[in-house]
Every structure is written in C-alpha cells, then in structure tokens.
Symmetry: C2
Subunit: 348 residues, 2 copies
C-alpha cells in the first residue's frame, strides 16, 4: 500500500462518530517507548538508528492490529509528503523536518501510527473520533503488549518506562482530546475554563502550536503527569474532565440559542455562504468559518452538510494537502485560490 493510496482517504478518526462528537473532535493516546541497549535517537549513530527501525518493523509484523499497515522511511519521502503526514497528525513536526534515519508505520484507516526514531525510539499513537480515550488506550495498550513480547524496553522498576525527555518518564503515556468550544468563546467564558482546567493539572492550548492564537475555537486538552499515576487513572481523570467541559460547552450553546439566536444564526449563515462564495481564502479564515458551520450543524441550523465533509475540508485544504492534490508546489497566493475552489466544489 502506497502513501498516496493511504492519503486519498480521510483518516477514520475524522468521520465524526464516537461519544460527544458534537463537541469533541478526536481523542488521542500516545505511548513513548525505548529499546534497551540503544542510545536515545538524538545520540544514536546511523547504524544504531537503522537497527532500531529494523527491530521495530520486524516486531510490528507480529501485531494482529497492524496487519496491512504501511511502513514509510522518511528520508525516502519528499518534503511535501512529510508535510502531508504532519498535517494529518500522523507524524510530528520534529519527525517531519529532522535529519537521520526515521520511519513511520501507519494503519490503513490512519487510526494508529508508530513513529520510529522521533524523540524516543517508539512513539505509538492511536487517534479516535469523538471522546473515546478508553478505546484509544485499549488499542495502544494491546499493540504495546505484543511489541513488549518481542522487544526489550528500557524500563526502571522505580521510575517506569525511561524516555529521552524526563517529562515522559513513568507511563510514557500522553493523552489528549481535540475539543471545539465556540459556545464558551462566544459567551466569553473560555478564559475561566482554561484557568480551571490548568489548575487541575491538565494542559490546555489552542489547536496550532504553543505560542499561536487559538484558531477555529479548537482546543487541545492533554495530561501533564506521566509519573505516579497508572495509565487507567490518567485516562479516567481526563475522561472525567472532558465530560465536564462538554457539559459547560453544551450549556453555553444553549445560552446562546436562548439569548442570542439571531447572532448565532447570522454567524453560521455568513460562514456558510462565505465558504461557498470566496474566490481567495487562507487557512486561518477557513478554520474560523468551518468552526461556525460546525456549530451550525450541531445546533440544527444547517441540516444538509455532515461533519465528515467539514473534517475533509479541514484536512484537505491545508497547504501540503492542496499541493499534493495539485501535484505540484504552489505559492501561498495560489494556494488561497485553490483552497477556495476546492471548498466551493465540496459545498456545492
């Protein structure tokens, strides 16, 4: 299975299903693992990096869940292909841009990806649509169990799994959800929520990058602590917080519809018709408008678009994807035109 076959589809985690999927876009669980007897990738030489890739890919062959998965060697991919993988959340920025022997294993529906030789030897992640942290954990855990039978992990009885960065030591697990909170943003309650969530030991930020502005009312909540709690405790805690946040957001949306119905409808219909009519549009604006339409669908204002279509637009109008679709490099100004064309076609 080739990269381009894989990428014609939208990952299953963007199909708009799962628990609380009107508010929670996706859930992600990631495990960091390292092989005993090898330096962390940063300090490993070429031969060692290749050996690590060799061992991990060999072990993967025996994991039932990963049958049919594609193995990609990043130094054999073009820059554009790597950017596409990054835009699909299958590899990290570091993995897409760094030097050295690196690989990624991706399942057909893009639910699971395993980065080899990122910061750690193994970064195993599972993405699920909606609030499905337990399901995501079950998948990573079952894969991890089979891998652990074949690979010897760096493990300390005292500290747990050893990782390149101390913040990952212990469970080596990070969980996160991508959550859409236009209600709390529009009712100006978002700041208070951000503070509350931070205070209980979770980390919350806007969708793109740590320093950037929050775009499209999309937030990521993730766990900070990997040490001193079991995986199940971490998952349960995140899940509990997520359900509470969902309730806040729902109540904010109800408030809006009760007290500012015209303004919400105005926002939704303007966004919908702008996306259907724009001839030039950048990513930020696309994200903003998609957010309003998503809200409109959730609130039953717009009835004839499904979340899957929105997610496809979200994914496929990113810079590298637009260039992959065009089959060539495109300047930003040309991309803005292609993006508008693509969206108009999708929403026709």
């Amino acid at each position: 299975m080739s990269l381009h076959y894989l990428l014609r589809l939208t990952g299953k985690w963007l199909d708009g299903t799962g628990s609380c999927s009107d508010i929670v876009i996706s859930s992600r669980v990631r495990l960091a693992r390292n092989l005993e007897g090898f330096p962390f990738p940063e300090r490993a030489d070429r031969r060692q990096l290749r050996e690590i890739i060799q061992r991990v890919t060999q072990a993967v062959k025996n994991v039932p869940y990963l049958q049919g998965a594609v193995i990609l060697h990043l130094n054999k991919l073009s820059r554009l292909d790597r950017e596409v993988l990054m835009e699909r959340h299958l590899i990290s920025y570091e993995h897409a841009t760094g030097e050295g022997d690196k690989a990624v294993i991706i399942t057909e529906q893009e639910t699971v990806s395993i980065m080899i030789n990122e910061e750690d030897h193994i970064r195993l992640q599972c993405l699920q649509s909606g609030l499905e942290l337990k399901r995501a954990f079950e998948v990573t855990n079952s894969i991890d169990n089979v891998l652990a039978e074949q690979l010897i992990y760096s493990f300390s009885p005292r500290y747990g799994f050893l990782t390149a960065c101390p913040t990952n030591v212990g469970t080596g697990m990070r969980t996160s959800i991508l959550i859409h909170m236009p209600g709390l943003v529009l009712t100006h309650k978002i700041q208070k929520l951000l503070q509350t969530v931070s205070r209980i030991g979770l980390f919350i930020r806007g969708l793109y990058g740590e320093g950037s502005d929050v775009m499209g009312n999309l937030f990521q909540i993730s766990n900070q602590v990997t040490l001193g709690q079991s995986e199940i405790e971490i998952i349960n805690n995140m899940e509990k917080v997520a359900r509470q946040v969902v309730i806040y957001e729902q109540s904010a949306r109800e408030d809006l519809m009760k007290n500012n119905r015209e303004l919400v409808e105005d926002k939704v219909w303007r966004a919908y018709s702008l996306l259907r009519s724009a001839r030039v549009i950048n990513s930020e604006e696309t994200l903003e408008l998609l957010s309003a339409i998503r809200l409109g669908i959730n609130l039953n204002i717009i009835k004839y678009i499904d979340i899957r279509t929105l997610n496809e637009i979200l994914l496929l109008t990113q810079p590298a994807h637009l260039q992959m679709i065009a089959g060539k490099q495109l300047e930003a100004s040309v991309r803005d035109i292609r993006r508008a064309e693509f969206i108009r076609k999708k929403l026709k």
Copy 2:
C-alpha cells in the same frame, strides 16, 4: 398626494440611468434664493416665516414643472417622517431637526425639492441619475425663472443673489455629484485623486458627514465658488472634472481586473453572499457590501441584479426607512435584524 404615497417609490434619481451611471450615482444642482423685504429665516419671526411659506407655495402653483408636487409643512410631520425625507436627500439635517415654520415641496418622482425657510428662504434642488449636471441645471433654472417672475429676490447688482451665508452669495448655486470609486480605493490611488480635486477649487468628501470615514467608496464632489463665475462656467467646470475622474476610476478598474481579478471576484462574491445570508447587519456594512456588488455589476461579474435594486436597498435600509416600513420605532439591534431580512428578500 400624501407623504407615504410618495415614499413608497424610490426617487427617479436612483434608477441607475444617465451618463456614466456605472460610476456617477447622481448629480445635484441647488439654488439658494431669498425674498426681498424679509429677514433671513434665522432672524424672521413666526408671522414672517408663514408669510414666506405662503408666498413661495403660491408662486410654485404657477410653475408647470411643479404641477402635482406635494407641499409638506415640517412641523406637522412626525420626527420619523422628517428623518425619512432627510435619508432621501429631499431635505437637509438642519431642515429636518430645526424649530420653526418650515416646509418642503417635492415632485412626484422626487427629482425636485424646494426647502422653504431652511438657511435661506428658498433652497431649490434638482437630483438626476448619472452624470447629468446640465440637465439638473436646466430644470432648476427653468423653475427659478418662473418663480422669479412672481417673487422679488434679494439681489445685488454687484454681488448677485444675497444669501444667509456669504459662501453662497453670487450665483447662489451649488452643484455636486455622488461618485462611486472602489477602483481608486482598492488600488490606493484615491488619496492622490482627492488632493488633485481639492487643488483645483472643488470640494470632495465621503458620502456621510464631513468628519466621518468614507463609507461604501462613495464620494461627493461639489463646487466651492459661487462668486465670480457664471452658472454655466461652474457647471462646465464640474462636468469636465467629473469626466476626468470617471476616466481615472475606469482605468483603475481595468488595472484591477487585469492584475487582481481573483481578489476582485472574491470581494464581489463574498459581498453578494453575505448580503444574501446575513441575519444581522448594520448600515455601514450594508454600504460596504453594496459597493462591492455595484462594482461587480459594472464589471460584469454579477449579471442578474440591476443597479436599481441596489439603490433601493441603499435607500430603504436606512434607519428611518426601516422604521417607516415596520410602521413603528425600532431599536438599533432590531433594525439590524429587519435590515438583514429586507435585503435577503430583495436579493432572493
């Protein structure tokens, strides 16, 4: 003929016809006259003001052009009715809001209005669609000639017609055109044009108010000098400048279509779909969006709306008009909803 009958229509000067009507919205000629033997309205007493109204309305009856015109006594009108007249450019802000005995005479198609007891005893104006200053002058001049046979004007052989404000002394004439210049605004050439026009003794400003921002890319060019030039010289000079400005604007539009076609089309289609979809919209945004659509019609980007419809929206979505249509006073926030409804219906 009642006020409400009159106001169901859009004035003929907004029908989108006339010379250069893709760029010049309308032409206006106004004459200021005062009656010999009466103080200016500011200093006249009630009896004198009534006598002036009496004499002028009597004289008007003998003007063929004014047969069928309606005579409105402003102190008998509601505040809303006066605001409506002001929004239609039939009376001035001062005439709409000031105290005392005042009247206005309006022809059926709203081409001619005569304010009685504004700053001067008589303010006679003619509005024409497009660049039709000569036509507007002919109309005011022919009416003025008949009035002059029946009324004795304050006139000095040395200074010409005497007026309450010295800036009007002489011909008592002011001419202006309302001109739409999105091309020069979008290509950033407008500042240079404004300077050039000011330097040759004409006055140029944005559509609304002297201090306000230019809205909807609409500008008014008017003559400053009423003394030392004949009426025909003033008209010819304005006409010459206006034709030059029209050529600049046309050339800016051609530049835009050659070098930034996508951006222009983007602006036009966004404006069109926003007006068709907004649920809440204020006057300023309406004006901006109408400007883009007007440009789109002129450039053949949008083919299925006519200028008359745009002008109707421009006129009828003003605050007082919206309230007149609703038959009651409306708060600004409610007007914004009604305005959006009205526009959606018009553009359906």
